[in-house]
């Protein structure tokens, strides 16, 4: 089975490699000694690392208000005073819980494998706030053992150092930086309505253009209109689209899915992926499917909407997370109760509902 992370990420020299092995062995031993019910975290190089910010994992809206209105010192003091009060779940909470369910299944089938989901809490918060965050994590019995509190510094360097496969945050600036550095990232939004989500299966929905694929076709639609787009797609049906920012994450999910298929668990696989695209099956859908095939990737369900709104369909799918590059679709999903994550990539950022946003508005 091919690697989820490149071998280049491995230690540069022998001495460093030896130190790393010692660290790994020591941490492993410590966990085994703990005799707790919590599973020990996987070796990062083999795992699919998902970094979540504190505001996506927990609902910190009220606390954020204190930070913005009264400043950092009052905010830290407030968090310290309420240290033993667990925070409420945030938009990424169901997604993280679902990841842990998958890990449980993987551990049963492959007890010695380190190819699991590894969740890292990556936050800008000061370390003092960390105590409350840790207490909250323990309260919900979540298996998050790695974290990074950067005390105000940018997390981008740390994302790379942790070999992050996906970064979820509420801060659009950080997410954009991450995407520019080649890390799959998205801005999470809490839905307006709560929906019941599966507790046994991780369900992830992706938009196609500018999320899994590059925005090359999207550019054609915006600049030359739909008819030119259809013609272009038909002509280039057999030419694979270029990669988009979330392609590698889909790939990582696919690798874990194959582990279940190998053990005859295809029908009962706890990971299910969906493509939800505004393309239509007849005119522009073939290129998408052929591209996926050329990449060796499978997607469980491909839904072509031919321009129909995504909201109602997403309600039927009930994904733990839905990635899209256009705020218009994110808003629609949110309104109907789907947890949506905005991928700020490509030409779609300059448009709103099909119309070009003026330059001044863009700078907001």
């Amino acid at each position: 089975m091919s690697e989820i992370k490149s071998k280049e990420a491995a230690a540069a020299d022998k001495k460093e490699a030896a130190t790393e092995e010692t660290d790994w062995a020591a941490a492993k031993a410590h966990f085994e000694n703990l005799k707790s019910t919590k599973p020990r975290p996987p070796k990062p190089i083999n795992a699919v690392t998902i970094a979540v910010s504190s505001r996506t994992l927990f609902d910190m809206v009220a606390e954020r208000k204190i930070f913005e209105e009264e400043g950092v010192e009052k905010y830290v003091q407030h968090q310290q005073d309420h240290e033993s009060e667990p925070l409420k779940p945030g938009p990424a909470f169901p997604f993280v819980k679902a990841l842990m369910t998958v890990n449980e299944r993987l551990r049963k089938l492959y007890p010695d494998s380190e190819e699991l989901f590894d969740i890292v809490l990556m936050t800008n918060n000061h370390a003092q706030v960390g105590v409350r965050l840790m207490n909250s994590i323990n309260h919900y019995d979540m298996a998050i053992e790695r974290f990074c509190m950067t005390g105000g510094q940018s997390p981008i360097g740390y994302l790379k150092a942790y070999l992050t496969n996906l970064y979820l945050s509420k801060d659009s600036k950080k997410v954009q930086e991450a995407i520019e550095e080649g890390i799959a990232a998205a801005i999470m939004f809490k839905p307006d309505v709560e929906t019941q989500l599966s507790e046994t299966q991780l369900r992830v929905a992706f938009d196609g253009d500018a999320v899994l694929f590059s925005d090359e076709s999207e550019i054609i639609v915006k600049q030359h209109g739909l008819d030119t787009f259809f013609e272009h797609e038909k002509q280039h049906e057999n030419k694979p689209l270029a990669q988009g920012p979330l392609k590698c994450f889909l790939e990582a999910l696919g690798k874990l899915q194959k582990k279940f298929y190998a053990k005859n668990e295809r029908l009962n696989c706890p990971i299910r992926t969906f493509l939800v695209t505004a393309r239509s099956a007849a005119s522009s859908g073939a290129r998408v499917l052929k591209t996926l095939r050329s990449w060796g990737l499978e997607i469980d369900e491909a839904l072509f909407l031919a321009g129909a709104p995504k909201g109602p369909l997403l309600l039927k799918i009930r994904p733990h997370i839905f990635f899209d590059d256009q705020m218009f679709h994110i808003e629609g999903a949110k309104e109907m109760g789907t947890i949506a994550a905005h991928v700020p990539y490509g030409i779609g950022q300059k448009y709103n509902k099909g119309k070009l946003i003026e330059a001044e508005k863009q700078q907001k």
Binding site: T22, D23, K28, K43, V131, N135, F147, G151, G157
Partner: protein, 276 residues
């Protein structure tokens, strides 16, 4: 607090001259007139100077300042002169110079009430800790690193592990001496943390010239939380915290770019992988 008055006075940090200057890069062809080439500790000294400047800005009669002393093991008169000159040349504020024989290192440190001995050599750090001298690792800084902040990392493992956990490390291959060294290191860390905590309180949370980090390489999040709470008890507010649970340290350290790493010699125990 009355205790504060008893504890103020300069915070002495000892550096070795071969960390301050890069003697290995001197060859026969080097111009003897030039100052010695800069070593890894120069960035640290400059950062310490920045902290002192800021402290004096706040309070002209501040007595809790850093004082850096330079220790040098056996060298010629020529080199001694060179060292003193080069220090002046780079604008480094070195309080005292000590030249002595190799065996006298520990005595020299003890008699001068050094609060911290810094070295890039892990073995030296371990040896010093073993004899009860507070010692920490000087992290290799690149020259162009931002010098407006002094960054100190405390090991969350050493501070956060309970007495029992530290003792149980023997199951894992640590010797009795090593465990005792770790316990001694924790006490040294406390002394240093209390002093640094006092210094830090002279500044607000934003724009402070002192940045304190906790790095837990092996322990779970509970160990890290325990470390944070302990440091808080000792009077030191932590800015950044990292919990690695076995993930490789070096990439993270490369992003943090600390000056001082207090790990109690934990990472000097290289033969452990043979035991697992």
């Amino acid at each position: 607090m009355e205790d504060e008055k008893n504890r103020t006075g300069p915070l002495m940090i000892a550096l070795q001259y071969n960390d301050l200057f890069d003697l290995d890069s001197i060859s026969a062809s080097t111009n003897t007139e030039d100052a010695l080439p800069k070593g890894r500790a120069v960035a640290f000294v400059k950062a310490v100077q920045t902290v002192n400047e800021r402290l004096v800005e706040q309070n002209k009669s501040e007595s809790l300042l850093f004082e850096v002393i330079l220790i040098a093991k056996e060298c010629s008169e020529e080199i001694k002169m060179k060292i003193v000159e080069s220090v002046k040349y780079y604008g480094l504020e070195i309080g005292k110079f000590f030249f002595f024989k190799k065996e006298e290192l520990i005595n020299t440190l003890q008699s001068n009430k050094v609060k911290l001995f810094l070295s890039t050599d892990r073995d030296d750090v371990c040896e010093a800790l073993h004899t009860g001298i507070p010692a920490a690792l000087l992290y290799e800084q690149s020259d162009d690193h931002v010098l407006s902040q002094l960054k100190v990392i405390f090991s969350g493992d050493v501070i956060g592990f309970s007495e029992d956990s530290l003792d149980s490390l023997s199951d894992f291959g640590f010797s009795e001496t090593q465990i005792e060294t770790l316990k001694a290191a924790k006490i040294c860390m406390k002394e240093f943390a209390v002093l640094i905590g006092q210094m830090k309180r002279r500044f607000g949370q934003e724009n402070s010239p002192l940045c304190i980090c906790v790095l837990t390489a092996w322990g779970s999040t509970n160990v890290c939380v325990s470390a944070l709470k302990t440091l808080r008890e000792w009077g030191l507010d932590v800015d950044e915290a990292f919990c690695l649970a076995g993930a490789p340290c070096s990439p993270i350290l490369a992003v943090i770019k600390p000056h001082i790493i207090w790990d109690g010699g934990l990472h000097n125990m290289r033969d452990l992988s043979a035991h697992s």
